[in-house]
Symmetry: C2
Subunit: 219 residues, 2 copies
């Protein structure tokens, strides 16, 4: 079973410090929600996000959305060989049941995440997604992996295919992919750093390379 962690994902509700900013207030009103109920989104809240620490990389639910669409619709997931987790910048972990059908439409995905932050599980009966306060270290410890890898620009170079072979030889390999647009992890993640390419890649590209390279040795 491959455990895939989207780590330090830029997924959060609007922080208190900018709840009164006109960019937030107006966007919330247009959506018929309260400012403290909506996801921070760089596309719409640029003027407000600039005022936050790490402002240039925050508010990127789109990265989580595309990573999840790819991971959950992968052959590996259909074969029951994959588990996917989202760890956020605020040390929360979203557990996702493999049978979950993530909304294809971005705006509906945003609505789902807002409901998840509010209710801690969606839908309430099935709990396909649930969120808990948890650090990346605690999550990795809980997964009890026999190998932990961090996908990183400055990691040990490995061809995707070779890396897939390494994963396939483990019982419970865990792979950590940064869920942010650029830059480095804010906290050093546990695990061996691996680089699949000699230039930065988008998070969803790394997700695809890892899952499909793993599949090739398993299926």
């Amino acid at each position: 079973m491959l455990h895939l962690v989207i780590a330090e994902a830029e997924l959060e509700l609007v922080p208190k410090a900018i709840l009164d900013h006109p960019a937030i207030v107006n966007h919330a009103r247009r959506r018929g929600k309260r400012p403290d109920e909506i996801l921070l989104d760089g596309t719409y809240h640029h003027a407000a996000i600039k005022k936050l620490p790490d402002g240039e990389r925050r508010g990127r639910p789109d990265i989580v959305h595309v990573c999840l669409l790819n991971a959950l619709e992968s052959i590996a997931n259909k074969e029951g060989l994959l588990r996917v987790y989202v760890h956020t910048r605020n040390d929360e972990v979203i557990y996702i049941k493999p049978e979950t059908r993530i909304p294809r439409n971005y705006n509906r995905f945003v609505g789902l995440m807002e409901s998840l932050f509010k209710n801690r599980a969606v839908p309430r009966d099935l709990e396909l997604l649930r969120i808990e306060e948890k650090s990346l270290e605690e999550l990795v410890e809980e997964l009890n992996p026999d190998g932990v890898f961090v996908m990183h620009e400055n990691g040990e170079p490995a061809k995707p295919s070779e890396f897939g072979k390494t994963l396939s030889e483990l019982r419970e390999p865990t792979v950590i992919v940064g869920g942010f647009p650029h830059g480095d992890f804010r906290a050093e993640p546990p695990g061996k750093k691996i680089s699949l390419y000699n230039a930065p890649l988008m998070a969803w590209t790394v997700v695809n390379e890892v899952i499909i390279s793993f599949e090739h040795w398993i299926l």
Copy 2:
């Protein structure tokens, strides 16, 4: 060079027959556009789309969006080994320069496509994307491939890795992936049918499998 065609994609402006439907008129007004300027979108126009032929599968710009994000951010594309085309249900072909950075935000992508349908090229100076009236057959003929493959549920079974090897041994292989949510191609596409899995896959999953399996034999 691998040529990837997203074919019969469900990407179109709102058809004349439903321009007056309240679901369309209201959505256009909310977006500050004319009804004939907006993309058909199943998420918002469900009540209107039902009245169209093939209504249950139309209005899916999201599928094109995710396929393009994956293809254009792939290692194969960064290495100059990939060309991507979108063929629509109305027999138009969108040519995309490999260096194009597709908007990450879905709503911005929709705006870009609307601008493309209106102006036939965006941005006007660089023409990173341009659209022409053209059938799938005409496009494939123009690409002058030495192998054409149609990804299809009922095709000849092939492991993704084996199929990647086949592609890697050709000079200009062309792979056709249906850009619709379910069902079959409306017109029989040219090429040898290949099935990568024993159950239906989302279009973006097939795109990922094809590109990454190809990369493994090339890089």
